[in-house]
């Protein structure tokens, strides 16, 4: 993830999709995967490129849960909150992680190391409860084993 935004790195992402309305969501996704979140600067650049008003870009961006407007932590922890995970104790796993990290879901640790989130469902229900850290999945997590996933103490 790149943190420093300069105009040319934004332009590089813009170039990937044609300047049409239906590129909007894809562009926002590409921006977020490059910069980690959608800054005002990025959204203005997208609006300009697609010839849309900034408010219509913001309105679309805020509609979708995927988009973040604040920088995230270096690592992203997602606790699956699907039905199977729910009945198998995902709530307790989340509580344990919140305790260990000292933050609530949706928040980032002050040192910007971890962001803690819940996900509607990863679709790996047979291995519930499931936790994803960056792009690694961990199945059958228990409240006891959950804190070990983040290591250290």
């Amino acid at each position: 993830m790149e943190r420093i935004l300069d105009k040319s790195s934004i332009d590089e992402v813009l170039k990937v999709y044609p300047a049409r309305r239906d590129s909007l969501v894809r562009l926002l996704q590409a921006m977020q995967s490059k910069f980690g979140y959608l800054s005002e600067e990025v959204m203005l650049a997208v609006a300009d490129y697609l010839n849309l008003s900034p408010s219509s870009v913001y309105s679309v961006a805020t509609f979708y849960a995927q988009f973040k407007f604040k920088p995230a932590g270096r690592h992203c922890i997602k606790v699956c909150y699907g039905t199977a995970c729910h009945v198998k104790g995902a709530g307790k796993v989340l509580t344990e992680l919140e305790r260990k990290l000292g933050i609530k879901k949706g928040e980032t640790t002050p040192d910007r190391e971890y962001t803690l989130e819940t996900e509607a469902c990863f679709g790996s229900c047979a291995l519930a409860p499931l936790v994803m850290i960056d792009s690694e999945f961990y199945g059958r997590v228990t409240p006891d084993s959950a804190p070990d996933l983040i290591g250290g103490d």
Binding site: V87, S124, A126
Partner: protein, 555 residues
């Protein structure tokens, strides 16, 4: 320009896998395998082969659906059946490779089953309770082939349905789908042939085709597994549909949370391009068609077809009221046909084997099979495909092996947030569109969660209602504020402070939300509450504030 010579080569290649001259190893590489540690196992296999100096071919495969035994590894030795090993750990890989491949001891203690026969004390895989009641049509290749290998799909009859379709009139194809009785697997069960016919009739061009792979229902993973394990079956279905309807452009709308499915789809689309199955003048037939992948952005409501189309257009994914139906005016106002992943995967087989072969399975009104993601408090969790009309009891006990830890079954939740909780007394119910709807639930896309005696029905209802309330797009009032009110009332019962009359309030509020919401999200939102009141009213009564009850008794 056909696929015949390529198919011949592919069959040759596939036979070399099944009857190999050197050992073949299959590693179940799907998301559920990854979550249970298959990446480390795969590495251990490479190391083990090197350590023992074994010359073997390692293949990836998808998911057989036997998730409770993941990671799953299969071995085929020359002249021997394919053997599946269960719950393989990186620490026992080296021993297994040595014992079986070098010393010819197939290690029955680690094996799950042998394919198609009993073998040296290892049971026949397809005679295991989990497998023997299944009929695998949509999942015909899942866990069998390497999903990233085009030859494997081709060798197993792939693209035969499409080639057959190219020799037929589009109307004939649609008639065959109608005769098969195929209904949408995305939830509502609308007859697929009829949908295609409507879209074909329109004289407005261009026409679009969509595969709905949003699979937002928490507790459902059928479509993910299918796309990860056999992407071509879905793509071939889309190709046949596009040809029959007359569509020139197709989209797969897939949730971003499914990175492996997206990767495998991209690989499969590359195969198609390379072999003239996409683009201009497909297989020299004059028919042209292209498919693009669009990733969802984390909004449940975008699984709803009108919202989905708005999202593809780059707008906020809010639904609009129908008519006009997508078949009349969909994407960019043009006729659009949208079907679910599993619906598409059924199409090629219907063409290849005929409607009569397909509709032997199922009930009077629900033909064929349905996949279910069996999860929750059940021993054998996994992905299953059963003929329509099987009882819930058979699914949970015969296939699922009953409830975990010897606990009592309390309810089976079907249909996700739009569905309902069915109690023990309803276990004799058959799974087909009509019976489930009659009992107050729905077939839905196929999530099936088993709940035991420890699960509170109020909590379960709350879980789903809270989910819907969070995902409500806010466009229509009944869904936006109605679900919020229901949730607030439900919470009073959960805290033991419910008002006696509020059970009725929930029922009437639920009824109005169902009748007046704009889209299926709101129309189904009250179901989890309504079914739990219907079948587990006692739990709501227990949540009534005792003081209020006493006051009522004094009146």
């Amino acid at each position: 320009m056909g696929l015949n010579s390529l198919r011949k080569e592919s069959i040759h290649e596939w036979n070399e896998v099944l009857n190999p001259s050197r050992p073949q190893i299959f590693v179940g590489m799907s998301t559920c395998g990854e979550a249970s540690g298959v990446v480390a196992v795969n590495k251990a296999i490479q190391d083990g082969l090197e350590e023992h100096g074994i010359d073997a071919v390692v293949n990836k495969t998808g998911c057989l659906g036997i998730c409770y035994c993941e990671p799953l590894v299969d071995i085929i030795k020359p002249g021997k059946p394919r053997i599946s090993y269960r719950s393989v750990e990186k620490t026992n890989v080296s021993g297994l490779l040595k014992d079986y491949i070098l010393d010819d001891n197939p290690r029955p203690d680690l094996a799950l089953g042998a394919w198609g026969q009993e073998f040296k004390g290892i049971p026949d895989l397809f005679e295991l309770d989990f497998m023997k009641f299944q009929v695998r049509i949509a999942l015909r290749n899942a866990g069998v082939i390497n999903p990233e290998n085009f030859s494997h799909y081709l060798a197993r009859g792939g693209y035969q349905g499409f080639e057959k379709a190219l020799d037929m009139d589009p109307e004939e194809i649609i008639a065959e789908i109608e005769k098969a009785g195929l209904r949408g697997r995305g939830g509502a069960g609308f007859p697929t042939g009829m949908k295609w016919k409507l879209c074909r009739k329109s004289r407005n061009f261009p026409k679009y085709l969509i595969c709905n792979a949003d699979e937002g229902d928490p507790g459902a993973f059928m479509d993910r597994s299918l796309l990860e394990s056999d992407p071509h079956s879905v793509l071939e279905g889309m190709l046949i549909g596009a040809y029959a309807i007359g569509c020139s452009r197709g989209f797969i709308y897939i949730r971003a949370e499914y990175p492996l499915a997206i990767k495998r789809l991209k690989i499969a689309l590359e195969h198609m391009k390379r072999h003239h199955l996409l683009g201009e003048n497909i297989l020299g037939s004059g028919f042209s068609f292209d498919i693009e992948i669009r990733e969802g952005a984390g909004a449940f409501v975008c699984g709803e077809e009108t919202a989905l189309m708005k999202s593809i257009e780059g707008q906020r994914g809010t639904p609009y009221s129908r008519p006009p139906f997508p078949a009349q005016a969909g994407l960019w106002g043009k006729p659009t046909n949208i079907n679910n992943v599993e619906t598409w995967a059924n199409v090629p087989v219907i063409l290849e084997k005929g409607a009569g072969w397909f509709n032997r399975h199922g009930t009077e009104k629900s033909k064929g099979t349905k996949t279910f993601a069996l999860a929750g408090k059940v021993n054998n969790t996994g992905l299953i495909e059963v003929p329509m009309g099987m009882t819930l009891e058979k699914i949970v006990y015969a296939i699922g092996g009953g409830v975990c830890d010897g606990k009592e079954l309390k309810a089976v939740q079907t249909g996700g947030p739009a569905g309902g909780c069915l109690p023990l007394a309803k276990l004799g119910l058959t799974v087909d569109y009509e019976s489930l709807a009659e009992a107050g639930s729905i077939m839905g896309s196929g999530g099936m969660i088993v709940l035991d005696e420890d699960d509170s029905m109020l909590e379960t209802a709350r879980y789903f209602l809270a989910f819907i309330q969070e995902e409500s797009c806010g466009k229509c009032v009944p869904c936006r504020t109605g679900t919020r009110q229901m949730l607030a009332i439900l919470d009073t019962f959960i805290k033991g402070r419910g008002k006696p009359q509020d059970i009725e309030t929930l029922l009437s509020l639920g009824d109005s939300i169902k009748k007046t919401s704009l889209c299926g999200l709101g129309q189904a939102a009250p179901n989890p509450v309504l079914t739990t009141i219907n079948y587990f009213r006692g739990e709501y009564e227990k949540g009534i504030n005792p003081k209020l009850l006493r006051a009522k008794a004094h009146q």
